[in-house]
């Protein structure tokens, strides 16, 4: 059952990832990317990391992709023209790069011991809310808080840079 679901999610995830990069319309690409994230969440859930799976849906499929869609729609995301004629090298790249990267992954996989390395391996940490909280708020508390401060500085900086000079009309 679990392996059936794993292959289902994996195939859907890879398929929608391929559709993301091959779509000519930016909006269609963004929607395929949402689907890809949802399937990634399914894989996380099967890897006994439910917290990560839900975060994946909440943050990536929910918040970040909505912002992406916003920007694409407001800026009238272009439908890309067919550029195969203008860039003849791209055809060769398409023929060479995927097999080359597949070969690299295969070599890395065999070097780590092939099938035997992963069979029957139990996850070291169960990805429940408690386990994640234990790591984030006890062991790595300082790093976690520092990252929050860095993100806060980034948000304040973005607001300061994006602010209009004149007062807003309704104030």
């Amino acid at each position: 059952m679990e392996s059936i679901l794993f292959y289902l999610f994996a195939v859907l995830m890879l398929g929608s990832a391929v559709m993301t990069v091959t779509s000519r319309s930016a909006v269609a690409a963004a929607v395929w990317l949402v689907f890809c994230f949802v399937n990634a969440a399914g894989v996380f859930a099967l890897l006994s990391a439910p917290f990560l799976a839900i975060l994946q849906i909440l943050i990536y499929a929910g918040a970040i992709m909505v912002l992406f869609l916003f920007v694409i729609m407001m800026l009238q995301g272009p439908v890309l023209p067919d550029e195969r004629e203008r860039r003849p090298w791209s055809r060769i790249a398409v023929l060479v790069l995927p097999p080359a990267s597949a070969a690299v992954i295969l070599i890395a996989w065999l070097a780590r011991g092939g099938v035997t390395a992963f069979s029957g391996a139990q996850p070291a940490v169960r990805g429940t809310a408690e386990a994640v909280a234990e790591l984030l708020l006890n062991r790595y508390l300082l790093a976690f808080e520092l990252i929050s401060v860095v993100l806060l500085v980034a948000i304040v900086g973005a607001m300061a840079l994006g602010r209009r000079k004149e007062e807003l009309p309704w104030k």
Partner: protein, 349 residues
Amino acid sequence: MESITGLLTKIFGDGMSPMALLISGGLTMALIMSLVMAMCAIVFTWMERKVAGFLQSRYGPMRVGGFHGVLQPVADMLKILGKEDIIPDEADKALFMLSPFVIFIGSLMAWAAIPFAPGFIASNLDLGLFYIFAVSSAAPAGILMAGWASNNKWALYGAARGAAQMVSYEIPLALAAIPVVMATGSLNMNAIVDAQGGGVLNWYIVHDPFLFLAFCLYFIASIAEVNRGPFDMPETESELVAGYHTEYTGMRFAFFFLAEYANLFLVSCIATAVFLGGWHPIAGPVFLPGLVFLIKAVILVFLQMLVRWTLPRLRVDQLMHTCWKVMVPLTLLCVLGSGIWMMVSGELL
């Protein structure tokens, strides 16, 4: 799901494999939840029109079905089923056809973790509350898809407003539930309801003043989250025709409508389970738990309708101001305050 799988074992004997039991139990629960959503739309449209009529000193629907027009929604449903399915020529057809179902599925998935009665919950997830907020965050994407795919400027404006509003109000909505999670020490919906047993004084709404404030903030944010008045910016009929579903007709429009009323009931169910003791009655032992739960949730739905037909609509900038500069700081105050309350009262482990 336990009650459903138990029932299935009783009917079909012990011969079913666990996987078959899981799949058939899951499908049964999904069917029940879809029916609940359909019933929401049917019952609440009638109720909404009656409440609106009452507040505007008129009767509302009176003719279909004898007593106070109770069969009006059935007549409306038959009419909408017979409508032509129009897809605009210039629309992005795939996205246009897909988006009602994205919104519907986001709503249906959230019902999986609502505890209606002891044992009657589709999936007793450890992270139930978190899961509900996560899957309902798919709705803004569906609204944006609908508005953009329609290729209509009113629809696009409505979608942009709707998505911005829902993304913003998700934050106070989730933050307002956090004090309850702190008090329970769990995100499991059953655990949250179980912790409120034994009379009205154990409900989280009266647990401490900060939780009462959190409930009020949750209620306001939930009205905005389901895009209803006074926060119905996405479909302001006086300026945007009908917002993001301007171009939709027939069954596709019905799916938006279904999701809207189902979400209205969903946020009330979450409030019932999280703040109002779930299936626990005001006093005495647990009796007819499902009915108690339903009564509380329907009262909240009624309150939301009263608010919708009483207050005038906000402006877009007022809406965003309310969310980011009033409600988010207040919910953060609730989190901090109930943390301090728990520390002082010695509840903290």
